[in-house]
Symmetry: C2
């Protein structure tokens, strides 16, 4: 992987998020000028680099729904990495406007900015949720029909359609990454954070949503980011769609047992029952990753290892920041 | 097909459009109470029934982006038929906000209305454009990846995702119809209308966008509407996706020759060249329709017959209104 082939300057939306901040570091390590736009709705200032290289790091605090506040950051940019979004799938069921506004409309606004300032390449963090409840595992990028089960998944699918249309109508090369469950430092939500929160509130009991048999692929943030950058260097279709995940999966039951063991093994695990954790949950997820592996990508951790590493980091302190 | 099984009252958005007005008549014929919402941006008052049955037809003139102006029409409704949208694919390239607002956001607004008023069934007019440039013909409903080539196609895909999410999150049964090129009386745009317009302006010459080899399936409006109603009666998954088209296709060159012949055969046909008619055009389109045919649907016209019938109607008068 050569540093010269990644585009600079790069705009990173959601650059203060758990995935975005790891991407920001990886781009800075490659000598790229990075322009972060974040509204800190779920991103956190402490995840940003503490001593960024002078002149190569810019932070704009702005909501992406207000283009006038950040459009200038797109001037001269050679790439857009669009990671900003509501990160919590469950929010959308209670308030469907969240994913429409923070997902679909936000994607539209940043694509318009890219179009107006002739940004030639755009990268988008999509999700395995676009597959809905697939009937084939591992699920390939060409799987259909795409029937999202959540407003979050619907917004990811809507955004994918926009990235595709902008590629074909305006010649902006698009990279669409469909993430498995991404875990690592700095996460504000997700099954591991939930379990840690619950055990802090009640060390004797861990309630698990669903029957615990939900089984998914978990990928470490740094492996995810490495895949995004690699595909951007090595794929060059007008629209490039890649799954990003591990080749194994792990059940919620196994994760619960790991978390309880890490806390000393005293808590009783109780299952709420039902085959889904919540409305809109995708109980089974395993992505085919032969497409990105063919480019030379290989994750450093499988799902179980990714969970173990993240549990260790969470134990070491809830506010774990990656080294800057 | 029995009349009792279609839901009443029914809200029809875009009910004054070329397809919507045929649907409105078909629903009225089935003794259904019909509540049309249209802003007449592309719909036309003269397409609505001239003597609708008393008490079973209501018209609300409103823009769907302003829910307060029409939400009450959803009270007590048993079905929503959502046909309102920008009908012209080409508009979106010049102004990408058109399909975001009139497509995606409008779908969201009417789904929210359906959710708030507990409307149990929703029908959506999607499009073959969600398939982008498929590599397989005829193209099946489970084809992937879905890479729309136009903002119009992106908005249809975004809307499909929303209909799917609302089905799974809120139990609203969804019907998604992916239309081939639909033709019939009352159309305000499309290849036939374009050719008639051009020949009226210059009877000696017909310029054809692209090389004329674009070949697509054309379905008559009345066949399309019959398929929508039939699938609503006979399919009952949470999300029901159906292609609607004929089993043959016809080239733009053949259509041009038919139109010129219908005008006396004097015009010279000139091809602008290139394999697409415009940016975002899908030059080849043929949908697999075995899924809806298995329910008992069969169109009355193939593509060539559909074109012939529509040419005859256009010749008889540009402002052809279907019999009320």
């Amino acid at each position: 992987m050569t540093s010269a082939s990644v585009e600079s300057p790069a705009v990173v939306t959601g650059g203060a998020g758990a995935i975005g901040s790891v991407l920001v570091r990886a781009l800075l390590d490659r000598q790229i000028e990075v322009r972060v736009i974040d509204n800190f709705s779920s991103g956190r200032p402490e995840l940003l680099p503490t001593s960024p290289p002078a002149g190569r790091f810019h932070l704009t605090t702005a909501d992406l729904r207000e283009p006038d506040r950040y459009y200038e950051q797109f001037r001269g940019a050679k790439a857009l990495w669009h990671l900003a979004a509501n990160p919590d799938i469950r929010l959308g069921v209670a308030d469907p406007t969240v994913d429409l506004e923070q997902g679909t409309i936000t994607s539209f606004r940043v694509l318009e900015a890219a179009r107006r300032f002739d940004v030639p390449k755009v990268y988008f963090s999509s999700s395995s949720t676009v597959y809905g409840l697939p009937k084939v595992f591992p699920t390939h990028e060409e799987y259909g029909p795409l029937e999202p089960q959540s407003l979050y998944g619907a917004a990811k699918l809507a955004s994918e359609g926009l990235f595709s249309a902008y590629a074909h109508c305006y010649g902006i090369r698009s990279y669409i990454y469909r993430f498995a469950n991404i875990i690592g430092p700095g996460m504000g939500h997700g099954v591991l954070v939930d379990f840690f929160d619950k055990l802090r509130n009640d060390p004797g009991r861990l309630e698990v949503l669903g029957n615990g048999r939900q089984a998914k692929s978990y990928l470490r943030t740094e492996d995810c980011v490495a895949g995004m950058i690699l595909a951007g260097e090595r794929a060059s279709e007008p629209v490039n769609i890649f799954n990003l995940g591990t080749e194994d999966r792990i059940s919620v039951r196994e994760i619960a047992e790991k978390v309880v063991a890490a806390h000393g093994g005293r808590a009783r695990i109780e299952y709420a029952g039902g085959d889904r954790g919540w409305v809109g949950d995708i109980p089974q997820q395993l992505l085919a990753t032969d497409r990105i592996r063919a480019l030379g990508w290989k994750p450093s951790s499988n799902s179980a290892q990714a969970v173990d590493r993240t549990i260790a980091e969470l134990l070491a302190g809830r506010k774990v920041s990656p080294a800057s």
